[in-house]
Amino acid sequence: MAKVIRVNMTDLTVRTEEAPAAWAGLGGRALTSTIVAEEVPPTCHPLGPNNKLVFAPGLLSGTAAANSGRFSAGAKSPLTGTIKESNSGGTSARLLSRLDIKALIFEGQPVGDAWYRVHVNKDGVTIEQETETLGKTNFAVLESVASRFSEDFGVLTIGPAGEQMMGIANISVRDTEGKLRSFGRGGLGAVMGSKKIKFITIDGDGSSPIKLADPNAFKAASMVFTKTLKDHPVSGQGLYTYGTAVLVNILHEAGGLPTKNFTSGQYEHHEKISGEKMYENITARGGEPSHGCSNGCVIQCSQVYKDTAGNYVTSGFEYETIWALGADCCIDDLDIIAEIDNVMDDLGVDSIETGVMFAVAMEAGILPWGDGKEIIRLLREEVQKATPLGRVLGGGTLAVGKAYGLTRIPVVKGQAIPAYDPRAVKGIGVTYATTTMGADHTAGYSIATNILNVGGKVDPLTNVGQVELSRNLQIATAAIDSTGLCLFIAFPALDIPECLGSAVDMINARYGIKLTMDDVIGLGKTVLKIEHEFNLKAGIGPEQDRLPEFFELESIAPHNVKWDMDQKELESFWNF
């Protein structure tokens, strides 16, 4: 029996229910968004007792399917005021699935000042008061869990930023190596902090392997699926060797690499922060260029980065992080960026929101351009200690821009715009403006078709075809985010038809159902509509489906382009 577990933080009670029949075909984002839309009042305060924090493994999580180790967290976001789904790797998705937990829902809010830890195992959920790790950073929490309880537990934790309910706070997830992955975007760490949960541990002991309705059919589909991932040059080779940072040089060449707080589309020191450079450093220093963030990953876009002395600095060192601190903040040194990445993991802050925020802080004059050491100081001395300046910084990109009277504040619905300039890559501008999530590249990754020539070609510099491109990608992404499969399967999926086909076959063989590809696309559409409806009821309507004005006023080199898409055309996004 698939379970839904409700943890009420107001009266510290736990209720285990059988998953309602209507949720049977839902997982991951489809389930978190359904639950948030059904149960959270859209107008509630995101940090108040009426918000809920929902974790849900995907439909294929916990099975032997390649790249199925991802899961979703959902809530109303304190950063955007919209519904939010964030997605992470780590070990917990698999453990939750094997414990037959379809959703773990945190409701209410304690009245007193006490903090809690929550433990999940085969017998259910327990809530205990927590004092030892209060105020501690994430790596200290992991150590504490390992020494007090077990090294094998799945861990979901918040750092000081989450405890202080900052907009940049993430929820960190222990990975297979005992390091951290995160539910990065949307300030979900603040929601966990508002419920006074310092960490959640998951013990998979005594759980049983997933029961498949048709093991043979599953195995057959799984083999086809894995083959498509290995056959496609992007998922089979490119991501494995260079990780996502290979995009630095690509976006620089294409003139869409936002630089110095979005004032240019090219960064003169791009080579120094490129994927090629990262690969060179990693292989010279005995790190690992290829590495998975969760069990069963065959793509392995992650890596382990070491310093010149061969000591571990960070893992999962991603393009967006490197871009934000590198090109956007003008730090031309991969080693300092790696160090900052480690500090951000430790404090529990979203690397995109934080990096973009620091570029805005540099423009505001809080610190000099390119000063990575000062970023580390500000994170450790101000944000971690929640000083008044630390709180302004911790509020995120929009908070800093407003506090300093700036007009060039790259956010949509309060969330920082990531690593692709919408003036030079128009399709991603449509995604930033229209997604239900606030600026988010993963919601409809038009870069694939605008720049990388995956899934066809659409000229990035004209407005033609961009709304349709973004719409199709957003629908497919909402479906993939519900499966527990890593979104990078989209690269083979865009070019090789058997890829998604075999994923659907795996879902059918897992549950003994008969979904068609149309059903899955239909699921993607439904998810987007549920989310959109929530946002409308929360007061976030079409007038907020737009990019900041400065993109229309300032052109960007080298193509000298502005954002000039007609608002009516943008609104046509929702015609489906």
Partner: protein, 74 residues
């Protein structure tokens, strides 16, 4: 005429990162690819002065040509 050729990722192995090279007038992207012994089917992206170009594009004096294998990220 002079063309600046930039190579990325695996295309750099045994070749170069960036080089100014002399080619006769009328040289296409395909000619350069051939000259560098790159397998055409391995090419993912071609940019000339930051704009996407095709294999039959005829290069002009001082053009910057960038060649990438099929790559992705996100």
């Amino acid at each position: 005429m002079q063309i600046t050729v930039k190579l990325f990722a695996t295309f750099r192995e045994g070749r170069f990162k960036q080089a100014d090279r002399d080619y006769p007038i009328g040289t296409t992207v395909a000619n350069v690819v051939d000259d560098l012994a790159i397998v055409p089917s391995e090419i993912g992206m071609i940019f000339v002065k930051g704009r996407a170009a095709e294999m039959d594009y005829v290069l002009k004096e001082n053009d910057a040509l960038a060649l990438f294998p099929l790559l992705g990220g996100g």
